[in-house]
Structure formats: structure tokens, C-alpha cells
Amino acid sequence: MTMIFGIPLQALFGQLLIGLINGSFYALLSLGLAIIFGLLRVINFAHGAQYMLGAFVAYLLLNYLGIGYWPSLILAPVIVGLAGAVIERLFLRRLYDLDPLYGLLFTFGLALAVEGTFRYLYGSSGQPYATPPALAGGVNLGFMFLPIYRGWVVVVSLVVCIGTWLLIEKTKLGAYLRSATENATLVQVFGVNVPVLLTLTYALGAGLAAFAGVLAAPIYQVSPLMGSNMIIVVFAVVVVGGMGSIMGAIITGYVLGIAEGLTKVFYPEASNIVIFVIMAIVLLIRPAGLFGRDA
């Protein structure tokens, strides 16, 4: 068997694939974060909570209404997106004129409150959520056993990421969004209903997080803590990619997922700081991040 650094080549392929799967989650989450930041200048600390909410809504839909995975994949993001819209309308909106730090602090509080509530109601050890039967089982790729569900995650997240990117960078709607970020008043003077746009944006970001949450439910334990464990890493991903760069967030998400996956093979102890180490190096060389525009 061919070996690389003492690891069988086949095992390496397996690990690369797994890194890609994790990268899918990073990409989806950092994409939403980048959109909200890029367009609203809000660092959405509640992003992890919204991810968690996505998973929980799917769980609740299943257990109380008997609604299964497939409808949930649409329904949960919509529900969380609506909740996001309400939050934006009622609260975040008042913070746009202030230092962006207030948005960060508000969503930080929001995350604490939401997570606290779910911990209070559902405990911290999590809830089960089964893989949808259509995607159960796996295929033997020769070098590894790939659960079908994981393959699905990679494909669907890639599609969603690219779709979102196209929406924002290549459509008129996207142009409105981007310009409203810079000078909402002026865009409004031009005849665009900016407040509605911003609400939609936040809802979109929250919905993307929830979508990732539903995708994660059959893989990870549906737990109130699942978001806070993830959020800081995702922040690092966004910083490495360059804040505000949407493509940057997507690419960096996948790349860092793979980098982390490889670390798990060669030096597992470092696997959850590897992203921070990469971040430090990147910032030394390119302070604005890999894809960031110069501030």
C-alpha cells in the first residue's frame, strides 16, 4: 500500500473526504455570517444559536407534528428565518446607526438567552434525530465507508452556497443589498425599500444557519450546545476568508474543513486550534484576510 507520512494513501483520501464534509458546514455557516456582516455590518453572534434552532425546529416538527426531514429542510429555515426577521424588525434595526460593536453585543445576549432557554427546556445532553430513510446506509468506496447522508450534505451545501453567492453578487437584488450596506439612506432616496431588504437579508442569513442545522441534525446530537461549540470556529473561518467577502467565506470554509480533517490524522490534539493557527498566520501576511478587501 502506498504510504504518505506513515499514513496509508487510502486512509488519506478518506480523511480528505471527511474534511470536505465538515467544510460543508463551515461554508454554509460562514456564508450566512458573511452575508449578515457584509450587508448589515452586524456580527451575528446568534448565528450558532440559529444553527441550533434549525436542528431543534426539525426535531420539534418531527416529535410534535410528525413532520419529517424533507419538509423540515424547507420549513425549519423558513421558521427560523421568520424569527430572524422579527428580531431584525424589533431590535437589530435600532442598532444600525451605532457602532457595529453594539450589534455584536446584542446578538451575543440573544445567543445566550436562546441557548439558555433551550437548555432549560430540553437539557444539555441533546435529542435524537434519525437519518431520513432515503439517505440511510452507505456505500463502500474502497478506501472508506461513506454514509450516503454525508455525500448528500456535501452536494446540497455546495449547491446552496453557489446559489446564494450568485444571488448576491450577480443580481440586481444583490446590488441593492450591497449598496444599502454602505449608505442605506441614499439607496432609499433612489426608491428602494431598504428596511424590507435588510430584514430579508437577516432572515436569509438566519435561514441559512438553520438550514445547516437541519442538515446537521441526523449527524450530530441535537443539543442546545451544538451552536456555541461551532460558532467561534466559524468566526475564525470568516476572519481568515476576509470579512465581508462572500466567496471568501465559502472557499475558506471548505479549505479549512479539509485542513482540519488532515490535522485530525497527523496531529489530532491540535485539530481544533489548527484553524486559529492558520488564522494567525494569515493575518500576519494578509491582515484583511485571504479574500478580504482592504479596509
Binding site: L101, L104, L105, F106, L283
Partner: protein, 329 residues
């Protein structure tokens, strides 16, 4: 910003000064007499957190940098002090010195990376770096993992003041707190502080006047880190242990809450903020309310309708203005 210097040049300076002096004296009296009415450990904890919050505010309130990684300095210093005092038998004053120096060093390293970016980027970078430090502490031998360094002896201050006596310990902590506050006060009202202020106002312009902005920010960062370390070191002696909770990112969040609650950019606001948070946490511990929910909601309310914080709102209120205070952010 509501520091005294700005007020001096306003017309109401006289009332303001005497009012401030009055508050100062009352405050000091309260602190001196407090141990006769309140539980000393609780008071000491409060003072430690108050100093921590003031140190944090030195950075946020006076240079506009929101650090999401201050737990690193607080908890790091606690570990350094606890370790040297327990394992190497250092006397408390030396242990604290090591803690402060260690925190300053950590501040230098973190600052080196973070200072290059501003605002939210800065916050995220400090957060990430402090996560790294957290994992370091989790895995390093000397921190004893999740057990923490326990049973740290308080020892004798300068060889003869027995800190195991809680009255002695209280007045020692109080002294440290006051010294820390004094340093902060001097720092922000110094020529250096003036440059910091100008950088916050217009960074490009400061550069064009020949100031190496990064170095000034780094200076403020290290100072803030060192003082946060001072608070952490003392806390490790008060409680006689140093554990992972002090370096976790939630601690960084807590100190932000304290500062926000008390009033960003006010010298003594964070003291009140810390007092409120610590009291609340203690109270909630024995109540039916889940702590995290309450903390989260307090955060949201503060940001939405109470942004200036307790002291800030007071300064900005009619009464506050009548007394000659100014609140400007």
C-alpha cells in the same frame, strides 16, 4: 467620555469637582467599612471583577477596541500566580508580580496580532487567540486540567501580614484595587491618553501627524492586559484556586457585560457594572431563574435601551448634568 479633565474646563467645573470629591469620599468610606456589613469573600470577588472590568474598559472605552479575549489575561495571570505561589512557594506579592508580568506578555503577543485590525475584526481575532490560550490551558500540565490549581496558599504579605485572615486579605485587595484604579485614571489622563483619544477620533490623521498608531494601541493593550492580570492574580489568592472558567470565552463575555452595564468609557462605571453582575450571579444561583437566560436578556436590554450604562445614564441625566458631569461618547 466623562473623565475629569474634560470637565475641568467647563464652567461648572467647581460644582463638578466638589461633587466628585464628595462621591469619592463616600465611596472610599463605603469600601473601608463594607467588610463589617457584607460577606468579605463576596466583597473581594466584587473588587477583583471591578478591577478587571475597569482594565477592560481602559481598552474599550478609551481606545475603542473591543477585546473578546480578556479572559486570557485574567485567567492566565490567575494560573501564573497560583502556580508560582503553590509550587514554587513564592510569596504573594511576588506571585502577583509574576501574574501581572505574564499577563502583560500575553497581551503583547495577542496585541501584536490583533492590533493590526480594527473594530469587529479586532474582536474576532482576540476571541480566536483567547480560544487558543484556553486549549493550551486545558492541555498544559501545570494547570491541572479541569481540576484547576487548587488549595493555593495565601501566605504572608511582605512576610508578615497574614493573608489567611480575611480582614487582612480584604484590605489588601482593596489597596490593590485602588492602586489599579489610580493607574488607570492616570493613564487615561496623561499625555499618552491624549494621543489615544486622538487616534480614536481620527486614526489617519494621527498617522499623518507622525504617530505610530499601532504602537500606541499596543501600549494601551498591554496596559489593559497587565491590569486585568492584576485582577486575576489577586482573585486566585482570594479564592485560592485558578481554574479553566477564568480563561474561557464566557468570562470575556462577562467582563463586557459588566462594562456595558456600568457605562463604557466612564472611569467608575465598570465598578458598578461588576457589582451588579456579581451580585446577580450570586442571587440567581439560588433562585429559580436560569442564569444564562437572565444574563442574555440583560445584555439585550442594555444594548437596546440602556446603552450608556448605569453611570453613563446618570451622567447624562438631568441630575447628572446639574451636578456638572459630562457624558460624551
Amino acid at each position: 467620555m466623562a473623565d475629569i479633565t474634560e470637565i475641568i474646563r467647563t464652567e461648572k467645573s467647581r460644582t463638578a469637582l466638589s461633587v466628585q470629591a464628595g462621591f469619592l469620599i463616600i465611596g472610599l468610606l463605603v469600601l473601608l467599612l463594607a467588610p463589617f456589613f457584607f460577606y468579605p469573600i463576596f466583597l473581594m470577588k466584587l473588587l477583583c471583577f471591578a478591577l478587571f472590568a475597569c482594565a477592560f474598559n481602559l481598552l474599550l472605552g478609551y481606545t475603542g477596541l473591543l477585546s473578546f479575549g480578556h479572559a486570557t489575561f485574567f485567567g492566565g495571570a490567575a494560573y501564573f500566580t497560583a502556580y508560582t505561589v503553590k509550587s514554587w512557594g513564592f510569596p504573594p506579592e511576588l506571585g502577583i508580580l509574576v501574574g501581572v508580568a505574564g499577563a502583560a506578555f500575553l497581551g503583547l503577543v495577542m496585541g501584536f496580532f490583533a492590533i493590526r485590525r480594527q473594530g469587529i475584526y479586532f474582536a474576532m481575532i482576540t476571541l480566536a487567540l483567547s480560544q487558543m490560550f484556553f486549549f493550551f490551558c486545558l492541555q498544559a500540565k501545570f494547570t491541572e486540567g479541569e481540576d484547576g490549581i487548587q488549595s493555593v496558599p495565601r501566605g504572608y504579605l511582605f512576610g508578615f501580614i497574614d493573608l489567611n485572615n480575611s480582614t487582612n486579605m480584604y484590605y489588601f485587595v482593596l489597596a490593590v484595587f485602588l492602586i489599579g484604579l489610580l493607574i488607570i485614571w492616570r493613564f487615561i489622563n496623561s499625555p499618552f491618553g491624549m494621543i489615544l483619544k486622538s487616534i480614536r477620533e481620527n486614526e489617519q490623521r494621527s498617522i499623518s501627524l507622525g504617530y505610530s498608531v499601532a504602537r500606541y494601541k499596543l501600549g494601551a493593550f498591554v496596559m489593559s492586559a497587565a491590569l486585568a492580570g492584576l485582577a486575576g492574580s489577586v482573585k486566585s489568592l482570594v479564592f485560592q484556586f485558578a481554574t479553566l472558567t477564568d480563561v474561557a470565552w464566557q468570562m470575556s463575555g462577562e467582563v463586557i457585560l459588566m462594562t456595558l452595564l456600568g457605562g463604557i468609557g466612564t472611569l467608575i462605571g465598570p465598578v458598578f457594572g461588576a457589582g451588579l453582575v456579581v451580585t446577580l450571579e450570586n442571587y440567581l444561583a439560588t433562585s429559580e431563574f436560569p442564569v444564562t437566560i437572565v444574563t442574555g436578556v440583560v445584555f439585550m436590554i442594555c444594548v437596546l435601551i440602556f446603552r450608556r450604562g448605569i453611570i453613563g445614564e446618570f451622567y447624562a441625566s438631568r441630575l447628572g448634568r446639574k451636578l456638572g458631569f459630562v457624558y460624551r461618547r
